[in-house]
């Protein structure tokens, strides 16, 4: 082969590589569209409907045993538009009560299926922090992501079981609407433009979950009578499980304590 043939082959290889990259980008865009609310797979019809007359509830308080670490300071100086609370939400303790613990029914629901709520749930980017810091949604439920800051954010979930995506959202842009197809707890979501911005998304097939507030309290209502395992998960302190048996119309209290 002469020099011209080699040059032509090299250029063709570069072109092919560029096309490959471009196609992969298009494919990923299509996949992303596939997870949009309009085309999401609806869950199967609800099996064995829960009788509201016999539905039980479980509630309680999650405590932190020990001296709570001082909240880490966040340095937001690299973006002048960031004027939020400059403390991290890694471990939030107020009077011994632990916030941002995700509580859900881990086991005991069998093969039951549940309708996906028609209402969207919201993630708000405000003060260069995510609100809420921990969120629970059902598979296929629409999540509306807003940007209330005067700066561009990018929303980048890093899942293990769902598809990863990374999109930027300029100030005052329309809300992004996203869904997640598979169950996954403590799915990290971050902003690569503001490295301190982090939240955790929990995607479940059942609606039986809650997140503790600043008072450490949670409540899960509407459970059919049965034996359940409740999981309490904190982003730093890990997971703890408790078993509970609920009779018809029961309203049990189940507290949990985390240690540093």
């Amino acid at each position: 082969m002469n020099k011209k043939t080699w040059s032509a082959m090299f250029l063709l290889s570069l072109l092919a590589l560029w096309l490959l990259v471009a196609c992969s980008k298009k494919e990923s865009t299509n996949e992303e569209q596939g997870t949009s609310p309009s085309s999401e797979a609806k869950p199967a019809a609800t099996s064995a409907p829960i009788d509201p007359a016999t539905a039980a509830a479980v509630s309680g308080t999650v405590k932190f045993d020990g001296t709570a670490p001082k909240p880490s300071k966040i340095d937001m100086s690299q973006d002048p538009a960031c004027k939020g609370t400059n403390t991290a939400e890694t471990i939030v303790v107020d009077g011994g009560n632990l916030a941002n613990v995700f509580v859900y029914v881990k086991d005991g629901l069998g093969d039951r299926t549940f309708d996906v709520p028609k209402d969207s749930t919201t993630i708000d980017q405000k003060g260069c922090q995510y609100h809420p810091h921990v969120l629970g949604v059902m598979t296929g439920q629409n999540i509306e992501i807003r940007n209330d800051d005067d700066t561009t954010h990018n929303i980048h979930p890093t899942p293990k079981d769902n598809r990863e995506w990374n999109e930027s959202q300029p100030p005052k842009a329309a809300a992004l609407e996203k869904t997640f197809a598979r169950e996954e707890v403590m799915l990290p979501v971050k902003c690569n433009q503001h490295p301190w911005m982090k939240m955790y998304l929990n995607v479940l097939k059942s609606p039986f979950f809650a997140v503790t507030g600043k008072d450490g309290k949670y409540e899960i209502k509407g459970l059919p009578p049965g034996d359940y395992t409740l999981a309490f998960i904190h982003e730093k302190l890990g997971e703890q499980d408790q078993k509970v048996t609920l009779a018809a119309k029961d309203s049990k209290t189940l507290d949990q304590t985390f240690k540093p």
Partner: protein, 312 residues
């Protein structure tokens, strides 16, 4: 066979030095991206926020990522000029090939950089991007050395290597272990592996480079072309070990629970990457000089300007 020495072109050499310096700056910019966890702050490629030419607001992670992209474009542009210039002015065929190799490497590096963005920083691609960056830096430094006045005009002082293993073999092993170290470090930085393999291999690096430096000093300290890179290599190795310890302390020991990259961990890790690149390039230069000045005892020594590999 008698060949006339290639003409020395000062402007060409200075331009090659400029490319090498710009590449080091690019490596620093790339390290800043990783250290500030800003790798995906610009979510698209080859465009930046949908545009090929608009400069976005340089705040937060975008400041690091987009600056890295702009410097990369600049280095790419310089490399095109260098390759064409070398092709036009340097009669040495192998130098012309080296110029094109530099261009090919920088193109491949750009594509790898784009793939890291499109595939959300997979450790394998990101590490390949980090390793190829330093390979390109070594090529740029070599071009600068090969176009220098000393290389082209001065007759090298040659000493026959009667030791075993040969000094060239030792320098080759040093480059190899440094490459392994570079890949392990990059894999750790990009969350592909833990820190232990990188730390363990640093012992191998110290042993290999230490042996090479010792041999170079004990037998060839009178050869300036070897003494200088050997001294720089040894100094950089010591600095690099200190920086490695500092990076480990700030990033792994103190910073594992940090809510964001803190200044001490950014400075120490970026310096560790930059000095690592300099160490690798210096070791490559040492290997090249050893190959030129210390032929093996089995080979018949030839005078510098007539030595076959030196001219096309």
């Amino acid at each position: 066979m008698h060949l006339t020495p290639p003409p020395y072109n000062r402007a060409h050499h200075r331009f090659a030095v400029l490319v090498a310096c710009a590449t080091l700056l690019l490596i620093v910019a790339g390290a800043l991206v990783t250290s500030n966890d800003a790798g995906l702050s610009v979510p698209d490629w080859p465009t930046s926020f949908g545009s090929l030419y608009k400069i976005p607001k340089l705040v937060g992670g975008v400041k690091f990522e987009h600056t890295h992209r702009m410097i990369a474009q600049f280095v790419g542009f310089l490399t095109i000029i260098l390759a064409v210039w070398t092709w036009r002015v340097d009669p040495r065929r192998w130098m012309q090939y080296l110029g094109w190799a530099a261009l090919g490497t920088v193109v491949a590096q750009g594509i790898l950089g784009g793939l890291t963005v499109l595939f959300y920083l997979p450790p394998s691609i990101s590490s390949a991007h980090a390793a190829l960056a330093q390979t390109f830096f070594c090529i740029a430094v070599c071009i600068a050395v090969f176009t220098s006045h000393k290389w082209m005009r001065e007759i090298p002082q040659t000493v026959i290597d009667q030791q075993r293993p040969r000094l060239f073999t030792l320098t080759f092993i040093s480059i190899l272990v440094l490459y392994v170290q570079l890949i392990l470090g990059a894999m750790f930085r990009h969350h592909g592996i833990g820190w232990l393999p990188h730390v363990v291999n640093s012992v191998v690096v110290v042993f290999a480079l230490g042996w090479t430096a010792l041999r170079a000093r004990s037998h060839y300290s009178h050869v300036e072309a070897i003494r200088t890179p050997r001294n720089i290599m040894l100094s950089l190795l010591i600095v690099q070990l200190c920086l490695g310890f500092l990076a480990f302390t700030t990033r792994v020991a103190w910073g594992h629970n940090a809510v964001q990259p803190e200044l001490p961990m950014v400075i120490s890790t970026v310096a560790h990457v930059a000095v690592g690149a300099l160490l690798l390039a210096t070791t490559v230069v040492l290997a090249v000089q050893v190959w030129r000045c210390v032929p093996a005892s089995v080979a018949k020594p030839v005078s510098g300007m007539e030595r076959k590999p030196m001219v096309a």
